[in-house]
Symmetry: C2
Subunit: 327 residues, 2 copies
């Protein structure tokens, strides 16, 4: 391993001079600087990250706390976007937060490795711990969950659900059912949007039309839909928690002789590739992961670079309906 010291010896200057030359500090003479840089490159020098971190308390590393849900298309897409963005900005992404972490430990773990910032995705699990982290001196951005007074970026679940309801309303639907995902802020927000739009549009919602379901679980979704179809006053349109559920349910319905959209209209969520390649194309709602990632990093970078003047804010990113053929 090549050290600053080796270059210093090779060039016949001091370590400090090499360090400054390499870091572009204006101090040094121009051609000497060039010579040092040249030599460093030839010798294959790379600064030791640990030493630099130790001295500067900057690691160029951003921690990411993710539940084990990478297999859900939304989250893998979001991750891809986050990674691309972090790459662009010169940060590496490290997965932190062992499964059994709680309370202070998120914070301590981040502190321990001098992370420059932390991104928490879907912080539904340990409010106290997450808050401790988010209100600490370590820049933190929360994705898809809102806490007071800390940086949050959420795809606006409430507004999107409103959009969806209005969309199907415009297509003539007055009996709209909803199947929710796992309990949590996302589901709550969507339900709130659902009710809000229905109230505003004067659409009556019988309690039986609102069902608890699961994300990414087409079996559950199908069961729920079949239950809905048994109702004396059956809905004409069902809003599913995500595309995976909707696609799976659609296939099952189809096999049962129930036609989409003739017998029942279906709306998905996420705007996945899959939703657009099946027949009929699913009407769904696309969340703009690229935008989300950009917002996340813009807030994070601001918090990192201007820790004193940074003001936490809550940003919502609004997606859009992708019109398919199932409504």
């Amino acid at each position: 391993m090549v050290r600053l010291k080796d270059i210093a010896e090779a060039c016949g200057v001091s370590i400090a001079t090499v360090s400054r030359a390499l870091n572009g500090l204006t101090n040094e003479g121009k051609e000497r600087t060039a010579f040092i840089c040249q030599t460093a490159k030839e010798m294959g020098y790379y600064p030791n990250a640990a030493a630099r971190t130790l001295k500067t308390s900057k690691s160029n590393n951003i921690g990411i706390i993710y539940e084990d849900m990478m297999t859900h298309v939304y989250f893998s897409t979001l991750f891809d976007s986050l990674r691309r963005e972090s790459e662009k900005l010169g940060y590496d992404l490290t997965f932190i937060g062992r499964g059994d972490f709680t309370g202070q430990q998120y914070y301590e773990n981040a502190r321990q490795r001098c992370l420059d910032g932390v991104i928490v995705v879907q912080a539904d699990f340990d409010a106290a711990g997450i808050m401790h982290l988010a209100t600490s001196s370590i820049p933190t951005v929360i994705v898809d969950h809102t806490y007071e007074g800390v940086d949050c970026v959420t795809s606006d679940n409430r507004a999107s659900m409103e959009q969806i309801v209005r969309h199907v309303y415009l297509h003539g639907h007055r009996k709209i059912a909803i199947i929710q995902g796992q309990k949590g802020m996302v589901s709550r927000e969507r339900l709130a949007g659902f009710y809000k739009a229905c109230v505003e549009l004067g659409v009556r919602v019988p309690v039986e039309y609102v069902r608890e379901g699961l994300f990414q679980n087409a079996v559950a979704c199908t069961e729920d839909i079949l239950e809905l179809m048994k109702l004396p006053d059956r809905p004409t349109c069902v809003l599913c928690p995500d595309d995976g559920s909707a696609v799976g349910a659609m296939a099952r319905l189809h096999a049962k002789g129930i036609k989409v959209p003739e017998d029942i209209a279906l709306v998905g969520y996420d705007g996945t590739l899959m939703s657009q390649i099946i027949t009929p194309r699913l009407t769904t709602f696309s969340q703009d992961c690229t935008r989300i990632a950009q917002e996340v990093f813009s807030m994070l970078i601001d918090a990192i670079e201007y820790p004193d003047t940074h003001i936490p804010k809550q940003v919502t990113v609004v997606g859009k309906i992708i019109e398919g053929e199932t409504v």
Copy 2:
């Protein structure tokens, strides 16, 4: 931030003593050790990772080089497994390898941050660079690609394709077509297995039955299938590069009035959740990501702990056919 020094002062002992006590070095007296540990905990001490890494050249961090393909279910599943395994063993996972890396840079980047090891997934992109890394002093395991003399774990694409061919053969198919994925070792291996099984079973394969396709691209897959259906001597069974393609294609075929499996048998690949919740359930091949992850880490840990005696090996993990209703 609490330092060793702070604890030392609080306890009235030297820094070295605290360090030894905390690391369980047998040197220290029992109750003094206990007292130090207790105090450290009370003060909320966490060792500074950078300092420790600088001194010991161990980071407890494993780098992972992944192309941007997290949205493919196979890779997200694999990643989940890798992460779970790394968590269990106490390592963190850091995404490294900026998009424009080449040659030595993978190695230098890993060296720079004192990574204890590196996992390279689908190393199809920069053979020279990857080899430089893999043959360096940094423990490296390559997933889903085979290089001579370095640690590799692959799902046995050749053997699985053979299994698939034999499976459909047993179901009476003699006209078997294959749609490949992106060019690369995975596709090559699968094709080799396909030919091998066909030859052994005495199945004739017209050149038109072998088509180049794309992974995770149902549109391309559908086009390919439709082309195949136009052939004067059409195949009775088509092997698709992955479940996503197969599911999408199936839906399109269905819409065109071509029935699966009556008119054409279809086989997917990956054994995803999706493949099992659609109707008809897709016949597919499940890759055992958990096993792959275990093998990866077993090799990695061995290479890390016994760098001198470690012998690189090539491991293949065999998956199994999931019988659906499309053959």
